[in-house]
């Protein structure tokens, strides 16, 4: 007779010393893991709750300006440096990790209208009170006076500035758009289309000869720097405040509009918007794409920041604080982790781009567990309970009530339109999609 009974040698199952990790034998037989679905669901629910618990997006504020901030520029090569200019003509440089100002210049007598770093960040340009000043990025030694390397007096009014991502050229806007070369007193080219003032201008980061400009006559104009001429023009129902190019898809751009919406357009087919992004309850002032091109941040007159996925209508996140006033500028950092916002009450605020993200280096096990949680959230995102928790954002009462009101207004308009359609001759009230409704004309 041969008998074998289960005996386990404890040495095979216990760690040898206290410094070892515990031995964890696994058996993946599904019969040993009952309630698989239910437990995974509970885990997903916990994951989404934990995300909300850890959602603390505000990192800190950069305090120092004594006037409202009018312009902000990120350093193209250094993640820690950011420059900001205020309405009293002061330009400050901030070290983001320590959140301290390490240099300040009284650059202009009047408001600083724009700041831009050169391609590699060794110089920077400021504009204001009809002058363009080119400065060295290096902080002057003790005793040296902080003077611009070069300054140009422009004949035209200056309101916006952008530096070419490829060439040593920059463009300004104002009464007309001008293309400049450094160390030249005269613009190399001047573009105009119509007579109105252009208030914002931006180079396309990929197609580097392309410039997008927002004018006061509600139009968005595109110029080709090789051609010395405008290419296209798009007029929306209300004024466009800013334009931001998608850094990954050269033909996509998003505009921040006065009518509380943002519009993403395809350069190749501008007769309708690719997406209309809704959510703000007041004019959208500023917009900036993340370096991945998947998302963008927008700042509005309603004192909130919203983060939109580039291909979605609704925002995934809304940031607000009690003391933050109207947003004047937003900027997404080049490491895709932080967002900077400037507002009327003289502060620059630093936010996390993903509210619940843990900062710093993560141990591998923690990273794995976060990845698992992420996968769970994705798998169970359609479950009502999970979706409810994931989508809910607490907003101040004024925003909540205003958004309710706006929703009511929009449904009213829709209802009215359908009523009108019902009671008029078929075909007289055409269906116009939301993507086309706000476009006045395209040239």
């Amino acid at each position: 007779m041969k008998v074998k009974v289960l005996t386990r040698n404890p040495d095979d199952y216990l760690r040898e010393t206290k410094r070892d990790i515990h031995k964890v034998p696994r058996n993946f037989d599904p019969d040993h893991h009952p309630f698989e679905g239910a437990r995974e669901y509970v885990r997903a629910l916990n994951a989404v709750k934990l995300e909300k618990i850890y959602a603390k997006p505000f990192v800190g504020s950069l305090d120092g300006h004594s006037e409202g901030i009018s312009a902000i520029a990120k350093h193209p090569k250094s993640l820690s440096v950011v420059a900001s200019g205020s309405h009293d003509g002061e330009v400050r440089f901030w070290d983001l990790p320590t959140r301290k100002c390490f240099r300040n210049i009284q650059a202009h007598d009047d408001s600083v209208k724009g700041i831009a770093y050169t391609k590699l960040g060794e110089r920077f340009i400021t504009i204001g009170d009809k002058t363009i000043k080119i400065w060295n990025s290096k902080v002057p030694e003790y005793g040296e006076t902080d003077m611009p390397q070069f300054s140009i007096v422009s004949k035209a009014l200056l309101t916006g500035l952008t530096y070419s991502p490829r060439y040593e050229k920059f463009a300004t806007c104002g009464e007309k758009c001008q293309l400049w070369e450094e160390e030249r007193n005269e613009p190399i080219t001047t573009f105009t289309w119509g007579v109105d003032t252009v208030h914002y201008i931006a180079f396309n980061p990929i197609e580097t000869y392309l410039i997008g400009a927002c004018a006061d006559d509600r139009s968005i104009t595109f110029y080709d720097t090789r051609d010395s001429g405008p290419i296209r023009k798009l007029v929306l129902a209300l004024r466009t405040n800013q334009i931001s190019w998608n850094p990954m898809e050269a033909f996509h751009y998003t505009v921040a509009n006065e009518d509380y919406n943002l519009y993403t357009f395809d350069m190749r087919r501008m007769s309708s918007a690719v997406k209309v992004h809704k959510g703000h309850i007041s004019a959208v002032i500023s917009v900036d794409y993340s370096p991945t091109g998947l998302e963008f941040v927008s700042g509005s007159y309603d004192r909130t920041l919203r983060i939109f996925p580039a291909d979605k209508m609704n925002s995934r996140e809304v940031y607000h604080t009690k003391r933050m006033q109207r947003i004047s500028n937003v900027s997404w950092s080049l490491d895709n982790k932080y967002i900077l916002s400037t507002s009327d009450e003289m502060n620059i605020r630093l936010w996390k781009a993903r509210a619940s993200e843990k900062l710093g280096v993560l141990p591998p096990r923690e990273r794995a567990s976060l990845a698992y949680n992420e996968a769970l959230k994705k798998k169970y995102q359609a479950f009502p309970e999970v979706r409810k928790i994931a989508h809910f954002r607490h907003v101040p009462k004024y925003i909540y009530s205003a958004s309710q009101q706006i929703r009511m207004m929009r449904t009213k308009e829709k209802r009215k339109e359908s009523n009108r359609r019902q009671h008029s001759k078929p075909g007289t009230v055409p269906f116009v999609s939301e993507a086309r409704k706000h476009i006045v004309k395209e040239e």
């Binding site: 007779m1 031995k23 964890v24 696994r26 058996n27 993946f28």
Partner: protein
């Protein structure tokens, strides 16, 4: 060189090989064990190519995971126990003494007997099979690490003890005493007295839900959430004394055996049984459910054992007539069924799958057997009798390979604490106890029946009542106001009925189908002669 015919045959061969591989993948029995269902049968039906690609990628990942799980079987270290008898020898002639002599010393120590005076006894093993809790009718309660024979506590509660039950960890246990249920820690200190649970006969613990299910003398079935200390639900089964209770480890449903030969299944969400099966012509004496939750065996007073399929609630799959009535049954993890018959314990191997003529092992005790339970992850059967407790060796009954993240017999204190926190975080809500627990991971598609019901509802809609009070123009003109009210209500009713008729008409057209097609044909001159 390559003629077209040759090429064709080559491609044919390739195709065949591919098909073979495909079939192999699908019908590999080793993979089938880890399979989470057949997946999407016809992905071409998904019209959007992006969605289709997404679904196919997901399917691929799932299949990959199944394959990896199956491949990990190589890493399992332990093997199942067995007895290989000599020629002409029968396993059921072997005594425990024979077996314990033939095995190694550590295993031989697992065969022991405790002579105790406070019987008859009830007992319970922890989920990892490491600790044992015994409770005698005359108030004796003892907890021990039975492998090392280390006593944790031994108390006399000075009261009748009907049942004992370990909770989620080995530091706490519940004892159903004469009147109420008490909770003690492993030092024997009374932590709680739960007066909501009274006259309890049987207790069982649902580890993933943290529910202590109890059945009482008057026919009440209750679930107590021990993590928050609240009664989840309490139902009167209206079946009298509930002395037979078992829980289905697959779906958390409680099975009760009744004196009329009926087995009912209960979830804390429904006041009535989810299912009731007439299993025996006489009273149900014992129920045992196997660890996969697929099979249930019941025994009755007329000495029958029947095996039922719990997935389809059909059966009996197997039917055995014994000489005496089994008073208790227990399934082991590897499919051994033990039956307590008076003062003997008979163990049958795989009797739920194949018909068995004689027991695998037989063990005789000195006194009447009151309870039997297999120890998880060990080849051991615990037997409680009138005069104590004995533990016998049953080779091949226990699962050799445990999953340490689920239950770990070699758990340290810190591991236990961590597991406790983790399991509390993952506590499954009692609302999720249903007959088919996999329903949550399935796609929620309305069945044909649901669709038909929804349509039928449209046919029997009631006119909604409207609350209308006419404006008062003049004082005292109540008759006119009443008339206006009546007119408005009637108009509302007419309009509603009109709308409903249209909906019903459409419904009929859709269901008939054929009529609709004819109408869409181009009108012809001869239409005027058609019947209208």
């Amino acid at each position: 060189m390559d003629s077209p015919a040759q090429e064709e045959s080559l491609s044919k061969q390739r195709k065949e090989r591919k098909n073979k591989m495909k079939n192999k993948k699908q019908f590999d029995p080793k993979l089938l064990k880890y399979s989470r269902g057949p997946g999407i049968k016809n992905p071409k039906r998904i019209s959007n190519i992006f969605d289709r690609a997404k679904v196919l990628r997901k399917e691929k990942n799932i299949h990959w995971a199944e394959e990896q799980a199956a491949r990990a079987e190589v890493l399992l270290t332990e093997e199942v126990g067995y007895i290989v008898p000599d020629k002409g020898e029968k396993t059921n002639n072997l005594t425990q003494k024979n077996i314990s002599k033939a095995v190694d010393i550590t295993s031989a120590t697992k065969y022991f007997e405790l002579d105790l005076k406070f019987g008859p006894y009830r007992f319970d093993y922890t989920r990892n099979g490491r600790h044992l809790l015994i409770g005698g009718k005359k108030g004796h309660v003892a907890a021990m690490d039975w492998v090392t024979k280390r006593l944790l506590c031994e108390i006399n509660v000075m009261e009748e003890v009907c049942d004992v039950q370990w909770l989620h960890v080995e530091t706490m246990f519940a004892a159903a005493q004469k009147k109420w249920v008490y909770i003690y820690d492993n030092q024997g200190v009374e932590l709680h007295c739960i007066k909501k649970l009274y006259n309890i006969l049987r207790m069982t613990f649902l580890p993933y839900h943290f529910l202590l299910a109890t059945s009482n003398e008057d026919g009440w079935l209750s679930w107590l959430d021990i993590s928050i200390g609240e009664l989840v639900s309490q139902y009167n089964t209206r079946e009298g004394r509930l002395s037979v209770m078992e829980y289905n480890p697959y779906n958390g449903v409680i099975c009760l055996g009744h004196s009329k030969g009926v087995v009912t299944m209960w979830s804390p969400n429904v006041q009535k049984p989810l299912a009731s099966m007439l299993c025996h012509p006489t009273g149900v004496q014992a129920i045992a459910i196997d660890s996969t939750g697929k099979y249930m065996s019941t025994s009755s007073a007329n000495s029958q054992i029947k095996v039922w399929d719990l997935r389809n609630l059909t059966g009996p799959l197997k039917y055995y007539q014994l000489k005496n009535a089994p008073t208790d049954l227990s399934f082991s993890q590897r499919g051994c069924l033990a039956a307590a018959i008076e003062n003997t314990v008979q163990i049958y191997k795989n009797c739920h799958i194949e018909s068995v003529n004689e027991p695998y092992l037989v063990h005789k005790t000195r006194t009447f057997v009151h309870g039997i339970n297999f120890c998880p992850y060990e080849d051991v059967l615990g037997i409680s009798t009138t005069s104590g407790f004995s533990s016998i060796l049953v080779p091949g009954s226990g699962e050799p390979n445990f999953d340490a993240l689920e239950v770990n017999p070699f758990q340290t204190k810190s591991q236990r604490r961590e597991a406790e926190v983790k399991s509390l975080l993952e506590k499954v809500q009692p609302e999720m106890i249903v007959l088919d627990p996999s329903i949550i991971s399935e796609v929620d598609v309305p069945t044909l029946r649901d669709k038909i019901e929804a349509k039928e509802k449209l046919l029997y809609l009631k006119v909604p009542k409207i609350d209308f009070t006419p404006r008062k123009k003049k004082r005292g003109n109540t008759a006119r106001a009443a008339r206006v009210k009546k007119i408005v209500k009637e108009n509302n009713k007419k309009e509603f009925i009109k709308g409903i008729k249209e909906v019903q008409k459409n419904l009929v057209n859709v269901t008939k189908g054929g009529n609709n097609k004819k109408k869409t044909q181009a009108p012809s001159v001869l239409d005027r002669f058609r019947k209208k």
